[in-house]
């Protein structure tokens, strides 16, 4: 029995050792290697001055051609739109960015994302390697009943988020594989035109308030950052008028760019293609240049 117990304990010790080692190596790689997503990019960005920061979902990542915007505006801008991100994720991005950089303007895209106050799985997964960062920890801990486990059990955070930060992403970080979305440039153009046949609409009702958006407004005010709210277009198959009207009632300064785009300018119903994005970037500049 003694031999068996010793052997079992050695296997257990080996397992615990490998779990700690894996956690350490993964965290080091995600912290020190070249960023492969926008959250990693923000964490590495220090002492920069940005004239405009664009935040939002894929409807920012696919719509704002920052290179074009920079050339026509002569300003330094950055597109931090992330596929699947909600206002909660935008708030986290903003908190991290202003912590070690200077920002003059924030352009926040809002539409039906106003209806959600939860963080997205994508953004949360990407934040998991950086739980030691106080801003990230304070921001996300209230959303997880198992936060203690995520924080203290080694490798647990990587294991339960393996599709996003598991071995594959770890390996790609090590070999410095070019990511699908370049976090430095931010703009991710879409090509093609796939408009569905079925019709849909934005939500019929609008929520009374969104505490996350209120927090974004509050942070911008404290840090003397000018906040511009705008909305992007949808294709003709999505009925948007009623909801956008309700949104404008809540935010009278909202820049409404939801109309005037032909369906051929869309990649799919919620996202403009490359050609549409360039037109939209120009229009957004023209609408905001005097503000």
């Amino acid at each position: 029995m003694k031999k068996f117990v010793t052997y079992t304990l050695s296997i257990l010790v080996l397992t615990i050792g490998l779990v700690y080692l894996s956690d350490f190596i993964y965290t080091e790689v995600y912290t020190h290697f070249k960023p492969r997503n926008k959250l990693q990019y923000i964490l590495k960005t220090k002492n920069e001055n940005f004239d405009i920061v664009f935040i939002g979902s894929s409807r920012v990542a696919n719509h704002i051609d920052t290179e074009l915007f920079d050339s026509i505006s002569n300003k330094k801008t950055i597109n931090l739109g992330v596929e699947g991100a909600g206002l909660n994720d935008n708030l986290l991005q903003l908190k991290l960015l202003i912590n070690s950089n200077h920002i003059s303007n924030v352009f926040l895209q809002i539409d039906s994302n106003f209806e959600s106050i939860s963080p997205s799985n994508i953004a949360i997964s990407e934040a998991m390697p950086f739980l030691k960062n106080k801003i990230i920890k304070n921001h996300i801990k209230k959303y997880f009943e198992n936060f203690e486990k995520l924080e203290h059990i080694p490798f647990y955070r990587y294991a339960v988020n393996d599709p996003k930060i598991g071995f594959r992403e770890f390996f790609f970080s090590i070999i410095n594989k070019k990511p699908a979305t370049n976090p430095n440039a931010g703009f991710t153009p879409k090509f093609g035109n796939k408009i569905p046949k079925t019709e849909s609409s934005l939500p019929k009702l609008i929520r009374k308030e969104n505490i996350i958006l209120d927090e974004i407004i509050r942070i911008c005010k404290i840090n003397k950052i000018s906040l511009t709210l705008y909305t992007s277009p949808y294709c003709s198959k999505i009925k948007t008028e009623d909801y956008i009207k309700k949104l404008i009632n809540k935010f009278p300064n909202l820049i409404n760019l939801s109309k005037g785009y032909n369906d051929r300018l869309f990649y799919d119903c919620g996202h403009l293609n490359n050609q549409g994005a360039k037109i939209f970037t120009n229009n957004l500049y023209n609408e905001t240049k005097d503000k």
Partner: protein
């Protein structure tokens, strides 16, 4: 309670300590501990169905005792049939009631008669197919006077409910397992360490290989209509490895756990994908079920004796029943029939006992002929698994039809899956190499590199295991 759960990781050491340090002085206490822990293990899933196991145990125990005292052949037959009807009655009701009802309604409506009958919302008790067959083997062996019936109810209860193999086998024979409950168990270091290795290898197969494959298999089979030929072929191959690693992984953990308690269970898988013909495949796949059907159905029917017609009939019966055992769906029946068709030419040409040894024994590589034979057998198996996995026979036929559309445009399609893409193929290749190199043993942890192999396996479990989307063992549904 599942083997791949935290609950089991806590449960197992507690029972192990109680077994070897508290109840070790008394055989009856050890057996009682096994019964109690087995009922806790099963009740963790749904305590209500414990009554079924208890009822089955009492019936078969009493019938066994009565059979030992009964000389009258007619009364002995009556006792045997009571056991068969009670056990298969439960199985039939819980597993096949809705299937037969739906098919009767469809058949009658085909002839213009509408029948109104409602299906019942029946939950299939986990493991019912396994423990039913195990208890049946006891009664049949006692009836045939191949086994002395036990008078020890606790030992018999432990035999029926032994937690390592209760819910998904191996389906033990009373002749092998029951006597082990009547003998004093002495702790054997080597056996226990071997058990630990089997548990580790079983977990690797389930959590790393089977669950990684499952992610792709689910995606590909759900979207087969839009997938190209190459992706559909890969989907079928992934399922072939998923089901093998899922089920043989479970068996490895079951056998390994039993070894920790001093028990030896029969081997359930013996590298089936290295078989050179279908006959060999069935000697290596789910061995406990295949041999059960061989001994209690095929041989009583006449086996390979008699005229050609009888031989063909027996082969079809055994494979179709085996298919139907897996579940109440035509897909399993077609899967069984297909295997019967594969097997038939081998039987009729009397080649069914040709490949009894291990392929390329003592060599590094197989001969070209052996390689081609293994590839052909593997291909046949992959084709049959499509029926096993598909939701209906029609879907399986469409899936195969789409494979043979020879559309190889767009390479490998994986839809929205973001986990391993080509990496999974590499992982499977490494797994095949590992299986090949250990094909004359039970697991790869042997030789001077065993410590390195163990470390790499643990590392793979930690970093490559699927923990975000934990799936149940496939054979729980049977």
């Amino acid at each position: 309670m599942f083997f791949n759960s935290i609950d089991f990781a806590i449960f197992l050491p507690i029972i192990f300590i109680l077994y070897w340090f508290v109840t070790n002085k008394n055989l009856k206490s050890q057996n009682l501990l096994i019964v109690i822990s087995s009922y806790i293990f099963y009740g963790w899933w749904d305590w209500r169905f414990l009554s079924l196991i208890l009822f089955s145990t009492i019936i078969d125990y009493l019938i066994g005792v009565r059979l030992s005292n009964q000389e009258n052949q007619n009364k002995r037959k009556l006792l045997l049939w009571t056991s068969i009807l009670v056990n298969l009655g439960f199985l039939g009701f819980f597993k096949y009631y809705n299937f037969f009802l739906d098919n009767f309604i469809t058949a009658f409506s085909f002839f213009g008669t509408e029948i109104n009958a409602n299906s019942l919302n029946i939950i299939l008790p986990v493991g019912i197919s396994f423990y039913t067959f195990q208890t049946l083997s006891y009664t049949i062996d006692v009836y045939k006077q191949q086994l002395e019936p036990t008078k020890d109810f606790i030992a018999f209860s432990a035999f029926v409910s032994f937690f390592p193999q209760l819910v998904a086998g191996p389906i033990e024979r009373a002749t092998n397992l029951l006597p082990q409950f009547n003998k004093k168990r002495v702790f054997d270091n080597n056996k226990a360490i071997d058990g630990l290795h089997l548990i580790l290898w079983g977990l690797f197969k389930k959590i790393v290989i089977a669950d990684s494959c499952a992610t792709y298999v689910n995606e590909i089979f759900s979207n087969y209509e839009t997938m190209n030929s190459l992706t559909l072929i890969l989907g079928a191959i992934y399922f072939t490895f998923q089901i093998y690693c899922d089920f043989s992984g479970y068996s490895d953990i079951a056998i390994g756990t039993s070894k920790l308690f001093g028990f030896s269970l029969i081997r359930n898988f013996n590298f089936p994908y290295f078989s050179r013909d279908i006959s060999e495949f069935w000697r290596r796949w789910h061995i406990s079920l295949s041999t059960w059907f061989r001994d209690y159905l095929y041989i009583p029917l006449g086996g390979s004796r008699g005229n050609k017609w009888n031989q063909v009939r027996n082969v079809f019966i055994i494979f179709i029943v085996s298919g139907f055992w897996h579940g109440a769906n035509w897909t399993f029946i077609v899967w069984g029939t297909l295997n019967a068709l594969y097997f038939l030419p081998i039987l009729l040409t009397k080649n069914n006992r040709k490949n009894l040894d291990t392929v390329a024994k003592g060599k590094y590589l197989p001969t070209v002929k052996e390689f081609l034979q293994m590839s052909f057998t593997f291909g046949l198996t992959v084709l049959a698994w499509i029926f096993f996995r598909a939701d209906s026979v029609l879907i399986a036929v469409k899936y195969i039809k789409n494979i043979f559309s020879f559309n190889f445009k767009r390479g490998i399609q994986y839809l929205s899956i973001e986990r391993y893409a080509p990496e999974l193929l590499i992982l499977i290749l490494l797994f095949i190499i590992s299986e090949w190199s250990s094909r004359e043993r039970e697991h790869p942890f042997f030789g001077k590199w065993r410590h390195l192999k163990i470390s790499l396996t643990i590392l793979a479990l930690v970093t490559l295991g699927v923990y975000s989307n934990v799936t149940d063992f496939i054979y729980f549904q049977f």
